[in-house]
């Protein structure tokens, strides 16, 4: 090579050439060209070999070795382009229509046909290539023998050959690449996809048979061994053996195709094709396994499937390629950096090859990500059936730990919440239940509550805008049945359970709050410290303060615990006042739990309320015990008197109870008599304390006896008083009746509807338009005709709910304060003037000296 180069640039050498030499060169060159042409063009005819070699020798003698090489390689390239590449591509001409097809679409062509086309094409081009390589070797040998003659020293034959073969390889792949039709990758993809599907169905049968032993075990080759062993031990040995060989035959075919493609320089394209086929298959598998059933964990089975199908396949493929590639790996010279290193792969050795491990990681990441995306998209549904769907949550947790894409979850879930939950159509109860489930579910995924913080924010903001939020929360807190109006009466939703659970936590919580944390505790805390996730908002304090505490988060919606306690007190009062049996065990329990959580002092009043009930029971018993000894001031009892046994009084310390709604009411004479007798006895026992009756409150159990039936009721005292009036007089005008009972006519008209709806009283227009006449219905026939409703059902505290509440709700208490303003707001006609109109009206009043304006505030002029 050295002298050829120097002679090439030494133009002086041209002058030394004689005519003979020139002729010799020309003749030989022509002969060499012809020989090259016929050698390469001839179909396997190597008879020109000897002539060719001597031509090469002569030309080399004149220092024209590079010319020889260049020309030969040029002809080689042309021939390959003509005989190899274009013929190769011609095989795929019929399929050019499939270029536009999506990778996921199934190509509607004969499976065997395209497979055999691919095989034939690869076969043909490899024969052509082998022939050309042979020709190249002839040239190499010719050059070699020339050099051997010229000098004594041994030339490096190997290096020369490698140089030329790799050059040839470049030629082959560059020719193929430049002429690559667009359909080819599609065909490859399709081919691998089909083969893998075939393999997967084959393995799936096996897999479902052998699910149990495959359940766990991450180690790759262990798995492989288990599988093989299982197959060998299978009862139906013949069958599984056949299946196994079928399996390996398939892998072998695929391996052959991959090898063929590799030798053409399509290493990375082949890899892309089977990788994308594997990923497609894996994706389909994940979608298939992870359906809309959230009650079982699917991650395990996906993992086992990855072990059983794609990794088995890759393992076999790599073994196959690794075995047969070894001698070619040097000659091919073309290697994608991503390509597994066959040299590092030693089949039969327990440690899986690096390539396989890399594949495993890639596949698992892909599977995790796919499953995670699926689950995140369905997170709303998953949380709706939370306790049942916890396996899905666990899966998601593992996936997220692997992929770290928590922010995806937050975004998608918030938009789902906005769209599906935080709408006017959802009841506050449902929103709260979903919120609690969200907290519980996300607590598993993210114990530090960082993402929960982000997800919970829109819910909290939304709930703050709802009026009945506090009420629902308190109901959830105190009611073991988890809310009254909600259809989902799932006891698991109740926050009461949460109160129970948190007892222990709260004790620690108390210590945390305290600044006197002892050193030991501080040390324990310090050793447990872990950094916050990167997504944590540094403004929201550290992990310790952000500890997920459902009650805390719920109370956070309300704003302050005082409001919650206030609402609780109101509801407790309502509940206690409607009790007639002094049974307050569950209330005591709830209160104790609340005390642990919210502190004893804030619930002091509630405790007094419960204590009143306990006291009432005792007093009640005492008073009844005095019946045997007649009261010192007792009056003569008449026939209508009601026994003291029947009465059960609730004695309250009104200072500690929420404001109680009391309407004046005239009770029937015997009842009134009984009550004053009761208070007399009370005063005797409890001097100097006295009783003041709230006559409109309480419950009355009564039985109405008609000609044809007896109907029991449990109603409020007002309703009882109303019906009692009909005992003496079957028909009342509304005015008279109202006067007799001592309530306003409109209240009467509203209340009496209860009895009308039960078909016990009938309403008819009276003499004057505002007056009605109420008549009692003595028998059933009339009743059913008038009111289709059955009167036999025992109704607890009939009447419209709002009016019948014994305790003014927090809302009502507020509303009373606001009545004055309300008169402005909802007067008839409604106030619809603009701010400007109001201002001009007020300034008119100022000019009339009725009002004065100071610092932007209007005052009444004195």
């Amino acid at each position: 090579m050295e002298d050829s180069h120097s002679s090439l640039f030494n133009l002086g050498i041209l002058d030394t050439l004689t005519d003979d030499q020139l002729h010799e060169i020309l003749d030989n060159y022509n002969a060499f060209c012809n020989a090259t042409q016929s050698l390469l063009g001839g179909a396997g005819d190597l008879s020109y070999g000897a002539q060719f070699v001597s031509n090469v020798h002569t030309l080399c003698k004149h220092g024209l070795e590079s010319l020889v090489l260049d020309h030969f390689l040029k002809i080689l390239e042309e021939t390959f382009e003509r005989n190899g590449a274009s013929r190769f591509w011609r095989h795929f001409d019929p399929y050019t229509d499939f270029v536009g097809l999506n990778k996921n679409d199934d190509i509607n062509i004969d499976e065997d046909e395209i497979e055999s086309v691919l095989y034939n094409a690869l076969e043909e081009i490899s024969i052509e290539k082998q022939y050309q390589e042979k020709c190249l070797l002839i040239l190499v040998h010719a050059l070699q023998s020339f050099k051997d003659q010229m000098s004594e020293e041994r030339h490096n034959f190997e290096a020369e050959r490698n140089y030329l073969t790799s050059k040839y390889q470049w030629i082959v792949s560059s020719v193929l690449m430049t002429t690559l039709p667009r359909v080819f990758p599609v065909i490859l993809h399709w081919y691998f996809k089909r083969r893998l599907e075939e393999l997967s169905t084959m393995v799936d049968v096996e897999f479902t048979d052998d699910v149990s032993p495959n359940k766990d075990g991450m180690d790759l080759d262990e798995k492989g061994k288990v599988c093989n062993k299982d197959v060998e031990m299978d009862v139906d040995e013949c069958y599984s053996a056949r299946r196994f060989s079928e399996n390996s035959r398939l892998v072998k075919n695929i391996g052959k195709v991959v090898l063929g493609l590799r030798s053409l320089g399509f290493t990375s394209m082949a890899e892309d094709a089977y990788a994308s086929a594997i990923f497609l298959l894996l994706k389909a598998k994940v979608y298939n396994v992870a359906g809309d059933d959230f009650r079982s964990s699917v991650l395990q089975s996906i993992q086992s499937w990855i072990q059983a199908v794609p990794l088995q396949f890759l393992h076999a493929l790599l073994v196959y390629l690794g075995d047969s590639v070894s001698y070619e790996s040097t000659s091919s010279g073309l290697k994608s950096p991503l390509a597994p290193q066959p040299s590092s792969f030693c089949p039969g050795i327990d440690t899986p090859s690096e390539g396989l491990v890399r594949w495993k990681l890639r596949l698992e990441y892909f599977a995790y990500e796919t499953l995670q995306d699926l689950r995140i998209a369905k997170l709303f549904e998953i949380i709706v059936d939370y306790p049942e769907s916890s396996p899905a949550i666990e899966d998601l947790k593992l996936c997220l730990e692997y992929t770290g894409q928590h922010s995806k979850l937050v975004e998608s879930f918030i938009s789902a919440l906005r769209y599906r939950l935080l709408t006017a159509g959802a009841s506050t109860n449902d929103i709260l239940h979903q919120y609690v489930s969200t907290i519980k579910a996300l607590r598993t995924i993210d114990p530090a509550g960082v993402f929960l913080e982000a997800v919970g924010e829109p819910i909290r903001d939304y709930l703050k805008g709802r009026r009945d939020t506090i009420k629902c929360i308190v109901t959830m807190l105190t009611d073991g049945t988890g809310g009254n109006s909600s259809a989902s009466g799932n006891p698991g939703d109740s926050l009461l359970e949460e109160l129970n659970r948190d007892e222990e936590i709260q004790e620690n919580f108390g210590i945390d709050d305290d600044f006197n944390t002892d050193d030991r505790q501080a040390w324990i805390n310090a050793t447990r410290w872990q950094p916050d996730p990167v997504e944590a908002d540094p403004l929201k304090g550290s992990r310790n303060q952000r500890k997920v505490d459902i009650l805390g988060m719920i109370v956070g919606i309300i704003g302050s615990k005082d409001q919650l306690v206030h609402e609780y007190r109101t509801m407790l009062a309502e509940k206690l006042l409607n009790k007639s049996d002094y049974d307050i065990d569950s209330e005591i329990r709830t209160l104790e739990l609340l005390k642990i959580h919210f502190g004893e002092s804030s619930l002091q009043k509630c405790e007094i309320m419960l204590n009143d009930l306990i006291g009432s029971k005792r007093v009640n018993t005492n008073i009844k015990a005095t019946i045997s000894q007649p009261s010192q001031t007792s009056v003569e009892v008449d026939d209508n008197a009601i026994s003291m046994d029947k009465i059960a009084a609730t004695i309250i310390s009104s200072n500690f109870w929420p404001p109680i709604q009391d309407e004046p009411l005239n009770l029937p004479e015997p009842v009134d008599q009984l009550l004053s007798d009761y208070s007399k006895r009370f005063s005797e026992i409890k001097t100097p304390r006295k009783l003041q009756w709230k006559k409109s409150l309480g419950t009355v159990k009564l039985e109405l006896q008609f000609e044809d039936r007896v109907v029991p009721f449990t109603v409020s005292p007002v309703l009882a008083s109303i019906i009692m009036k009909f005992q003496d007089q079957t028909s009342w005008s509304s005015k008279n009746l109202a006067a007799a009972i001592g309530i306003p006519v409109d209240v009467l008209n509203r209340r009496i509807h209860f009895w009308i709806s039960k078909g016990i009283i009938a309403e008819s227009p009276g003499g004057d338009s505002s007056d009605h006449v109420y008549t009692i219905m003595e028998n059933m026939a009339e009743t059913s005709r008038n009111a289709g409703g059955s009167g036999n059902t025992q109704e607890l505290l009939g009447g419209d709910e709002e009016e019948d509440r014994s305790v003014a709700s927090v809302e009502n208490q507020l509303r009373k304060e606001m009545t004055v303003y309300e008169m402005f707001c909802i007067a008839d006609p409604p106030y619809d003037k603009s701010l400007q109109q109001l201002q001009s009206f007020l300034s008119g009043l100022v000019s009339e000296e009725k009002l004065e304006l100071r610092d932007g505030v209007y005052f009444l002029k004195k």
Binding site: A648, I651, V671, L675, L691, Q692, K694, P717
Partner: protein
């Protein structure tokens, strides 16, 4: 017929002259009103929480006086 009604625990609608808490509330040392924190009348007809007046009486070195009218304190009845 069974009836269930409600009553007010009614002493006087006033506050204890010592602790300024309502009579039907309780003194600052008690948690529960009513029997746990009874009222007591002096001979002068001034009422206090029993606990409050006892504390007052015990804190006086010589004969105690009613905090309201400075008459010698004696329990009524």
């Amino acid at each position: 017929m069974a009836c269930c009604c409600f009553m007010d625990l009614d002493a006087q609608d006033e506050t204890c002259g010592i602790c300024r808490m309502a009579f039907d509330g309780c003194c600052p040392d008690c948690k529960l009103p009513g029997d746990d924190c009874p009222l007591i009348w002096g001979a002068c007809n001034h009422a206090f929480h029993l606990h409050c007046i006892l504390k007052w009486v015990n804190s006086q070195t010589s004969q105690a006086h009613c905090p309201m009218c400075r008459r010698e304190w004696q329990f009524k009845g």
